[in-house]
Structure formats: C-alpha cells, structure tokens
C-alpha cells in the first residue's frame, strides 16, 4: 500500500507528512524550552542580591559559538537548495560543512567551556575579617583600605551585579575570590605541614587535577548526610589559590603568569609560583566557608546555565547524528530511488536545525551578555 503525501504536499495544507510531523515536534520543543526559559526568568527576578553570577561567563566564547551556529544554519539551507538543483556533490559539500560547524560548537562547549569552568573556583569566607585580609593580599595592598575596596567593588560588580547597587547589601565574606587551585597543604601525624602541587591534567592548560573540588564549612562535624567534600577527603588544611588573570591582577603591581604556566607541570617538582611570576596566595581552610568550581551546584545561575546549554547541546549532538546518516551510502541510494522524498528529509532536518539555532539565538544574550 502506498502512503499518500509522502513526497508530495497535501493540497489543502500545503504540507507533506514528514513536515507536519516535524512542526508538531517543534511545537513540543517550544513548550519544553519555553518552560525552561520561564524558569530562568523567575529564578533571575527572584535571585538574592549578588547571587546572579552570569558576569563570570566568557562573552567571547559565547559570541564565537553563536557565529558557528549561524554559519551551520546557512550551510544546511544551501545543502537543501543543492538537492533542489539536483546537485548531489553540492549537497555533500554543504552538509559536511554543517557537520563540521556543529562539531566545532560541541568541541568548544564540551571540550573547552565546561571543563574550564569545572577548574575555576569561587572562594567565600567565614567572616569579613578573614575576607578583608585575603582581598588586601590579593590586591597587594597593606590593608582593606578605601582604594582596595574601590578595586574590589569594581571587580565584584562586573561579575555579580552589573549596576553595582547591591554592593552594600552583601557582606564582604560572601563576595567570592575567584581563581585556580594550584596547590594545597595537609598535616602529617607530627603536625607538620606538607605541600602538594596541583598540576595540569592531560597537559591541557585549562584542565587542572583540581577538577570540581568542593568544600563547605557546613559539612564540618557532620557524620551523616554530608555532601561530598574534597577538602575533608584529602585532609586539606590550607589551599593555594591563584586569583583569576585579567581580573584581580589589573589592580596589583604583580605580574600574572602567562596562562600556560598557570599550573605546575604534573610531577616536574616545579612550584606553581616559581620564578616570582606567580601570584598564588595561601588561604587557611579555617578561613573558608565554601569552595566551589563553576559547576551546577555553584549557584542558581550555573544550575540554569548547565540545564539550558546541556539540553541544547544534546539537540546539537542529535542533529549531528542525523546529518551523518544523511551522508552515508544508504542515503545516497535513497536519493537515487526517490530524490523528492530524500530532499524533503533534508528540509525536515534543516527545520530542526534552525530551531536549534533559534534557541541559541536567545540563549546567547540571556546567559552571556545581559
């Protein structure tokens, strides 16, 4: 039995079967992402002062990924147009370009952006005094004086509160110092301190062996119900933090390390701040209330960020699989047996891909820019 309107459009709707299907699917996708966007709006509007940490995002990376996805959106239409013009080679060329762009998007997202966040830490403090001591040291000032506060406000506002209105309503202890864990100290049985270096993982500069470490003061004394606490597991009594480059070092006389010297090379015995270039500071665990990488548990913003971008990235991944299928020999055979139907399939894939692009068009400004 032949199914009607498989390749040709129904006269009353102007759509063939597959196209009705994809639009219904996209309608359900709109509801899925719509719910998450609504959740984003409510969580953002209801966030406590200084808790919406979207200033920590790299805008350049977001913009780059947007351009890649735009390019892929254009190439997938060109692939479909090539089929309309009965040009298989043109189709292959544009389709491969689309897969390449899509893969680049995922490599940036899953290979760079996310791992870099899991090795970037925020440290908050048990009290204002401890925080002020650390910030004075980080900004290379004698004390937490007016100048130091001014610089601190500038840095904090750019990241946590763009108009700077909430500066006064958040305690100094709750304004995080961000940076990278380059070493830590433990105590042996004799009470002597032992220094441990934290090196690069896999020789990649933004990957550290301190990957998604966590510490929370609230876990102290807990015997049951405690969350995973890396500091407790390792017996960390003090941690060596290198404040984020391009942020904290703008207001100091000390020079920042070049990025590839950020971590000591694993096992080479070189201290992370060897040669006097580094600006790593040691913070006692007793001064710290919380250490968290930019993982989902870091804050509401990052929970939303990983949910939205993760779901979106899964769509990109799914799209790549479908597009690869359309480049396989089996697809060529289908094109030869029924070119119109195959062309329709490519159109449908394109509609899905444009939807993925549309979602990102909105994700870019709300997660990276404003």
């Amino acid at each position: 039995m032949e199914i009607p309107y498989n390749s040709t459009a129904r006269p009353d709707t102007g759509l063939y079967n597959g196209k009705v299907g994809i639009w219904l699917f996209l309608a359900s996708e709109v509801m899925l992402f719509g719910a998450l966007f609504s959740a984003y709006v409510l969580l953002r509007v209801g966030a406590e002062p200084g808790n919406w940490s979207m200033g920590l995002m790299s805008k350049e990376v977001g913009a780059f990924n947007t351009l890649i996805l735009i390019a892929s959106s254009a190439t997938i239409v060109l692939a479909w147009v090539s089929l309309k013009l009965k040009d298989w080679n043109g189709y292959r060329k544009w389709k491969i370009a689309t897969v390449v762009f899509a893969s680049m998007f995922l490599i940036v997202k899953w290979g760079y952006e996310w791992p870099a966040k899991f090795t970037h830490y925020d440290v908050t403090f048990v009290d204002d005094k401890a925080a002020e001591t650390v910030f004075a040291e980080v900004l290379n000032k004698d004390s937490y004086n007016d100048e130091c506060q001014k610089h601190h406000k500038e840095i904090w506002s750019a990241r946590y509160n763009i108009d700077g209105k909430d500066w006064g309503s958040v305690d100094t202890k709750d304004k995080p110092l961000d940076g990278y864990i380059v070493g830590y100290y433990t105590e042996n049985e004799n009470g002597e301190r032992e220094h441990h270096k934290v090196g690069q993982a896999f020789g990649i500069y933004f990957w550290s062996h301190a990957f998604a470490w966590r510490h929370d003061k609230r876990n102290d004394g807990r015997t049951t119900g405690a969350k995973r606490d890396t500091f407790r597991e390792k017996g960390v009594v003090a941690v060596e933090i290198e404040p984020a480059h391009g942020t904290w070092d703008k207001h100091t006389d000390k020079h920042a390390l070049v990025t590839d010297r950020r971590y000591a090379k694993a096992g080479d015995g070189q201290a992370s701040d060897a040669g006097g270039h580094g600006h790593a500071i040691t913070i006692e665990t007793s001064q710290i209330s919380r250490v968290s990488s930019y993982e989902p548990a870091h804050s509401t913003f990052f929970a939303v960020y990983y949910t939205l971008t993760g779901l979106h990235a899964l769509h990109v991944f799914g799209g790549i699989l479908v597009m690869l299928y359309h480049l396989m020999p089996i697809s060529r055979r289908m094109y030869e047996s029924d070119p119109d139907r195959f062309t329709n399939r490519i159109e449908i894939t394109g509609l899905f891909w444009h939807f993925v692009d549309l979602v990102w068009i909105f994700l870019f400004p709300i997660l990276y820019l404003f």
Binding site: L15, L67, L78, D163, G350, H354, P365, I366, F370
Partner: protein
C-alpha cells in the same frame, strides 16, 4: 514549500536571500556583543540592555523563521497555524475576563516571587462577603 519555485529561483533568488540572512545574523550578533562590551547595562540600566538584547535576538529569530525555515512561502501552513494560535489567545482572553477580574494585585509587591502571598482566593475581592471565619490562635 507551498509555493513551487523553479531551479532558476533557487539558484539566483533564494541563494542570495540565504547570504543576506546570514549577514543579518552575523551583524546582529556583532552589534549585541559590541553594545554589551561598550557597557550599555552600566550606562542605561539593566532593563534597557535586556530589552535591546532580546529585540535584536527576536529580529534574528524572525529572519531565520521566515527565510531559512521558509515560512514566507508556506502560506497555507501559516494560515492554519495562526488560526490555531488565535483560538488559544481568544481562550486566554475569555478566561482573563472571569479569573482576571478576581486576581488581587498588591501595590507593595516588589516583583520578587515568593516574597508576598498573592494567591487568588475565591471571594476575597468582595469584602465582607464569603469571608472565611477568622480562627483565633490557641491561648497558652
């Protein structure tokens, strides 16, 4: 596509449109990024920045939907969809006539969810009528 086009149209007209839309999308991204770097939020406030960013995003999205997803030419599908959407909007409008008139609005609501209980309660608008009996707390 509902409107059928010949090979020449795809080759000459549609391809040119694709490049134009690509250009608009790239320009939109560049403008949003540049304006953000320039510090629109610091200078004009966060709300202005958000409105600007989402307006540009909407324009970009519209070009993708109209040209890349070729809704411009799927006029039958467009008509059907708009009719369906209109019924939903009509339903919401009619519901608002009944429910909306009873929703109590608070002047003191600072816009943050969870701060104030503004749950709608039946009959609350009619002061003194159907008012639930007040229960006194137990005396210690």
């Amino acid at each position: 596509m509902a409107d059928e086009h010949n090979a020449e149209w795809y080759e000459n007209t549609f391809k040119r449109m694709i490049y134009w839309v690509g250009g608009v999308l790239i320009a939109g991204t560049a403008i949003t990024y540049a304006i953000d770097k320039w510090g629109v939020a610091e200078k004009f406030g966060l709300l202005t920045a958000v409105i600007f960013g989402l307006t540009v995003a909407t324009i970009k999205a519209a070009t993708v939907i109209v040209i890349f997803m070729h809704l411009k030419w799927d006029w039958k599908f467009k008509t059907i969809s708009l009719t369906l959407i209109s019924t939903v909007l009509f339903f919401i409008g009619m519901m608002w006539l009944t429910v909306g008139s009873e929703v109590k609005t608070y002047e003191s609501n600072d816009g943050k969810p969870g701060r104030i209980d503004n749950t709608w309660k039946h009959g609350e608008h009619a002061i003194g009528i159907n008012k639930p009996a007040e229960i006194e707390p137990p005396k210690e």
